[in-house]
C-alpha cells in the first residue's frame, strides 16, 4: 500500500461495540475479530478520506513514545491482515 492510498473498510465488514468484552468487534460473514484499542483507532481512520500517510501521522501524534518505524510496521501489518481477508478497499 502506498502512502497516498485511502484505505476504507470493505462493505461486508462492520464495527460493533461489544459490552461483554468492552472492546469493539469487527464483524464480517461467518466470523469477527476482537479489536484492541489501537486496532479500533486505526480502523476508525480507515474511512476512505485519510491517506495512509495521514493515518500514520495521526497515530504518531497520539503515541509520541512509539518509534515511528515500529508504528509504521504495526500499522502496515494490521492493514495487510485486513487486506488478506478482503476487508479493506483502498483507492489512490
Amino acid at each position: 500500500m502506498t502512502a497516498d492510498a485511502l484505505p476504507r473498510l470493505a462493505p461486508k465488514a462492520r464495527l460493533k461495540y461489544d459490552r461483554f468484552s468492552g472492546h469493539y468487534l469487527l464483524l464480517f460473514p461467518e466470523t469477527g475479530w476482537l479489536l484492541n484499542d489501537t486496532g479500533m483507532e486505526l480502523l476508525q481512520l480507515c474511512d476512505g478520506r485519510h491517506s495512509l500517510a495521514m493515518i500514520l501521522d495521526v497515530l504518531a501524534r497520539r503515541y509520541p513514545h512509539v518509534q515511528p518505524d515500529a508504528l509504521n510496521a504495526d500499522v502496515r501489518s494490521f492493514l495487510a491482515a485486513l487486506a488478506e481477508r478482503s476487508l479493506l478497499r483502498s483507492h489512490g
Partner: protein, 363 residues
C-alpha cells in the same frame, strides 16, 4: 475462550421448506416441514435473548428463509440489536423489490448457493431449473450494493467445474467465494455413495482454489472446505460442542449443531420451554459434550483434543453408533476404516442415483 462459554453465532433455521431438493442438504433426513414453526413474536424474543447471551452474528437459513413471510421483521429486529445478519439463500423465490426491502431493514450480507453453471446439471442437482433465476438474484445483490458470498457445495458431479466457479465469482465481483465440499451428514450421508468425490478430483479442485485465492487476495476471499473423509484429523465441528454456536430450528428447538437432534438419546429443549440463557448454560443437551469429561480413548489423552474437541459428534453417532466415540474421520479412531472404505468406493464409483431431499412424501 471465556469460561463459561459465550455463543457468538446464532444459526436461525427459519423454515425447513425449500423449493430446491438438493441431495446433500444439511437438514436432517426426517426434518419436519412447516409443522409447528415458531411465529414472528417468538423469533423477535429469541433474537433479543441471543444478543443478551453474547451472540453477534445471525445466519438466517433453513430450508429457504425467503419462504418466511415475516423475514423483514426478523431482519429488522436483528439489525436493531446490532447483530450482523447473513441471509443464506438459494435466491428462490426472490424479486429485486424484496431484496431492496430486506436491505432497507438492515440486512448485512447475502450468501447465495449455486449447484452448477451447466444448466442441465444444475437442474439435475437442485431438482428443478433455477439457474437463470439465481443469476438474476446475483445481479440484484450487486446492483443494490449488498455484499455477496457465493456458495458452491462441491461433490463428485460438480467439483470438476471449480475453475469455472472461480471465474464466474470473479465476473460477478463476489466478495467471498465458498467452495465447500459437502459434509457427509444429513441428506449428504444418505446420498454419500452418489456424491463423495474421488481424492484426485479433490486435489485438482483444491489446487485451483488455492491458486485463485493467492491471485485474488484482497479482492475476493476464497474458502475451500475439504470433505473430512480424506483428512488425517477431524474438523473442529461447530468450534466445539456448545462453545460458540447456537442453532434454533423452525420449531424452536435449541441445538449445539444443525443435526444434534439426530443423535438418539439426547434431549433438547425449545424456546417455548425455557429462556435461551437456561438452555445454553444448564440444559443436559448442551452440557453433554462440553469440556473433556465425556471423552474416551483415543481422544482422552490426545494432544489434539484442544484443537478439534474430538471432532463431530453427529458423525461419530451416525458412522460408529456411539456419539461419544472419537470422530471416525480421525486417523486415530478405531473406526477410521469405515470412512476409508467410503473413500475407496468413491474412487471406483459407478453412477448411483440421488435420493432427492423431499419431505411430505414417502421415500
Amino acid at each position: 475462550m471465556d469460561n463459561p462459554p459465550r455463543p457468538y453465532t446464532l444459526v436461525a433455521e427459519l423454515t425447513y421448506a425449500c423449493p430446491l431438493q438438493c441431495p446433500y442438504c444439511a437438514n436432517a433426513v426426517d426434518a419436519p416441514v412447516r409443522d409447528g414453526e415458531i411465529d414472528t413474536a417468538a423469533w423477535i424474543r429469541v433474537l433479543r435473548e441471543a444478543e443478551a447471551l453474547g451472540v453477534v452474528q445471525v445466519n438466517l437459513t433453513g430450508g429457504e428463509p425467503l419462504l418466511r413471510g415475516d423475514l423483514n421483521a426478523i431482519v429488522s429486529q436483528a439489525a436493531r440489536l446490532g447483530l450482523y445478519t447473513n441471509l443464506i439463500t438459494s435466491g428462490i423465490p426472490l424479486t429485486r423489490e424484496r431484496l431492496a426491502d430486506l436491505q432497507q431493514h438492515g440486512l448485512d450480507n447475502v450468501q447465495l448457493s449455486l449447484q452448477s453453471l451447466e444448466p442441465d446439471r444444475a437442474a439435475d442437482i437442485a431438482g428443478g431449473r433455477f439457474l437463470e433465476r439465481k443469476r438474476h438474484a446475483i445481479a440484484w445483490v450487486k446492483e443494490l450494493g449488498l455484499p455477496l458470498t457465493l456458495n458452491f457445495v462441491l461433490h463428485r458431479h460438480n467439483i470438476d467445474e471449480t475453475p469455472r466457479f472461480i471465474s464466474f465469482a470473479e465476473s460477478v465481483a463476489a466478495d467471498r467465494l465458498e467452495l465447500a465440499n459437502a459434509q457427509y451428514l444429513g441428506w449428504a450421508l444418505h446420498n454419500r455413495d452418489a456424491l463423495l468425490p474421488g481424492e484426485e478430483q479433490i486435489r485438482l479442485a483444491r489446487t485451483a482454489a488455492h491458486a485463485a485465492g493467492a491471485r485474488l487476495k484482497g479482492k475476493m476471499e476464497i474458502v475451500f472446505v475439504m470433505p473430512d473423509y480424506y483428512a488425517e484429523f477431524p474438523k473442529t465441528c461447530m468450534n466445539g460442542w456448545g462453545r460458540s454456536f447456537l442453532v434454533i430450528t423452525p420449531d424452536g428447538t435449541v441445538l449445539p449443531c444443525h443435526l444434534a437432534r439426530t443423535i438418539a438419546a439426547l434431549r433438547f429443549e425449545t424456546v417455548r420451554d425455557s429462556p435461551l440463557h437456561e438452555i445454553w448454560f444448564h440444559s443436559d443437551g448442551f452440557n453433554r459434550f462440553r469440556g473433556e469429561a465425556w471423552m474416551s480413548d483415543p481422544c482422552r489423552g490426545c494432544e489434539r483434543r484442544h484443537l478439534d474437541f474430538g471432532g463431530c459428534r453427529c458423525q461419530a453417532f451416525h458412522v460408529t453408533g456411539d456419539a461419544a466415540a472419537a470422530d471416525p474421520a480421525c486417523s486415530r479412531s478405531p473406526h477410521h476404516s469405515l470412512i476409508q472404505q467410503a473413500g475407496a468406493r468413491a474412487a471406483t464409483a459407478s453412477p448411483v442415483e440421488f435420493a432427492y431431499r423431499r419431505y411430505g412424501s414417502r421415500r
